[in-house]
Amino acid sequence: MSLAGMTSKPWIWAWAAAALAFAATLVLTQGRGAGELAYAALSFGAFAAIVGLGQMLVITLGPGNVDLSIPATMTLAATLALKFMGSDPGTALPGLAIALAVGLGVGAANFALIFLLRLPPIIATLAASLIYQSLAIWSNRGLRIKPPTGLAEFATGRFLGLPNVAWVGLALALMVWVLLERSLWGRWLLASGQNLRAARLAGVPVEAVRAATYLAVAVFAALAGYLLASFSGGAALNMGAEYLLMSIAVVVIGGSSIAGGNSNVPGVWGAALFMFLVVSMLNSYGAAAGVRNVLTGTIIIAIVIAASSRRARI
């Protein structure tokens, strides 16, 4: 691919920024710890990537579509799954089933609010997330139960040198990519995101597409919650908090159009790595919290400007 062709891909910018942050950290250590840092970025980036893929599908549905219940869904799914497993060996799969079922339930509830009550998705998912949060508190009062050993080992383990959670994230990314690029459902989603009314009039089953999308984002969030709790040694009531803004940020930094109808799978991964690496870089340079925030915000805006002005020129 030519250089011009490369720069026309909006996801390039997220990857370039991630590489830059990576390099800047290594400058400080004079090259030490490159492997460690990459490994950590892949581990923690995986969680952001998984929720980001879900959020991307929703944002692809068009303006106004966004899921703000991701953190609460992660917490609820992880809480219920870990409570069920109660550190007992051999319960990992039923626990996973419970987490995914929670995801389906949450997605169905969110979509019911949006479809039946016609609430704007922003408000519907925000309001519903408060209810999920209550459910999580009520179900086990914030006790941090350890995952079964086997599951914890899987979540923190590696395969062929890459973290297992990153493999999961990569597999999901591949799946979403195939879905969007090759499948009927992906075409329908992209059409609905560009013009919902035209899609309905062109025979696209738009309600089914919307429902499936809201189910998908919740299932992805539930899975991320389950993995994160297993990875970090238990579910906490506030475990999803940082993934609210994170999930939106990785989608837009990754080059997907916030106006819908256009999505970008590789960009989500690039942005997920970037979001981890930039904080690591600033921490390594000893930036205080204030500086860190200002720089993070500035860099996010800079990436978005770079990505968009490129696109306009082509």
């Binding site: 209550s134 009520w138 837009v252 915000g297």
Partner: protein, 306 residues
């Protein structure tokens, strides 16, 4: 539909107020009403700020962080050196206008830029006040504690905000043109308007009301903290929608937005008067939000059939 747009917020506020008074008759007094609503004043101002952005088809994820920053400036510079403080406030408003211009000129998605800016505002607030503190200027405290005859300050302030913004946005010619930006920016370009300037103006309006929200908040709390108003981002969006606004098409109602802010504040109080179990107090807030918005459905159906 237009007439119903404002009817729903009014009705939901009235019903909620009735229920609150029935449950807590003590609230039905000059003192009580002021306590119920005084913290809604900064929220109403922030909601109006958000409305300026939603009016031009954008959404502002940074207003909470911005109000926090404005509060920190108020409690530090404005208190210690009023002139510098005022200059800083003007700079903040200009920064908002610049943000609007950049968003338009580079065709950036506002949601992303404001997301990034929320980090920037938050970081600046941490610079200014690494630990909670500062103090409200005396005059500001005096304004927020004033006790007008018959009607408490909170109500007077809400009426004032609603009235002024209604004049600015709905009645004034320029406000009408600004709403047009949300309706069809292309039409404005064709009519010879510089849409970038108009957007900058709308953002400056948001910045102005954001700054006012920060000041009002500090006047009530007497001190600031870098995280003081983060919650306003989502509250203000909910308030605009509750007040009959829509995310696209320049359909907003300033009076509705103020009522929306009052309703949200009242809803939280109403729940605490219900003395739910702590487990469910959080969820009940979500439930009541859903309930109030569901009423929109009924009104929307009514609107369709006319």
């Amino acid at each position: 539909m237009n007439r119903y747009r404002i009817l729903l917020p009014v009705v939901s506020l009235a019903v909620l107020l009735g229920l609150t008074f029935w449950m807590q008759p003590r609230a039905m007094s000059y003192f009580g009403v002021n306590l119920l609503f005084n913290l809604a004043v900064p929220i109403a101002l922030a909601t109006v700020a958000q409305m300026f952005i939603i009016m031009v088809n954008d959404i502002d994820l940074s207003i909470g962080a911005f109000v926090s920053l404005a509060a920190c400036v108020t409690a530090t510079w404005l208190n210690d050196a009023p002139l510098i403080g005022l200059l800083a406030m003007a700079a903040l408003i200009l920064a908002y206008a610049g943000m609007g211009a950049v968003i338009h000129a580079l065709e950036l998605p506002a949601i992303v830029v404001t997301l990034g800016m929320s980090f920037v505002w938050g970081g600046l607030a941490l610079f200014l006040l690494p630990t909670p503190g500062g103090a409200a200027p005396e005059w500001l405290r005096a304004i927020m504690k004033v006790k007008p005859p018959l009607v408490p300050m909170a109500v007077v302030a809400a009426l004032l905000i609603a009235g002024v913004t209604h004049l600015l946005v709905i009645r004034a010619g320029l406000g009408t043109v600004l709403r047009g930006v949300g309706g069809n920016p292309r039409a404005l370009t064709r009519a010879g308007w510089n849409v970038m300037q108009l957007k900058a103006l709308a953002y400056a309006g948001a910045g102005l009301f954001g700054v006012l929200a920060g000041m009002a908040l500090v006047g009530l709390t007497t001190a600031a903290d870098a995280n003081i108003a983060l919650r306003y981002t989502l509250l203000s969006i909910a308030g605009v929608i509750l007040g009959g606004g829509e995310f696209t098409g320049g359909k907003v109602s300033p009076v509705g937005a103020v009522i929306g802010a009052l309703t949200l504040t009242l809803a939280a109080s109403f729940l605490s008067f219900m003395r739910l179990s702590p487990d469910w107090q959080i969820g009940a807030q979500g439930a009541i939000l859903i309930l109030v918005l569901t009423a929109r459905l009924i009104f929307a159906r009514r609107g369709e059939t006319t």
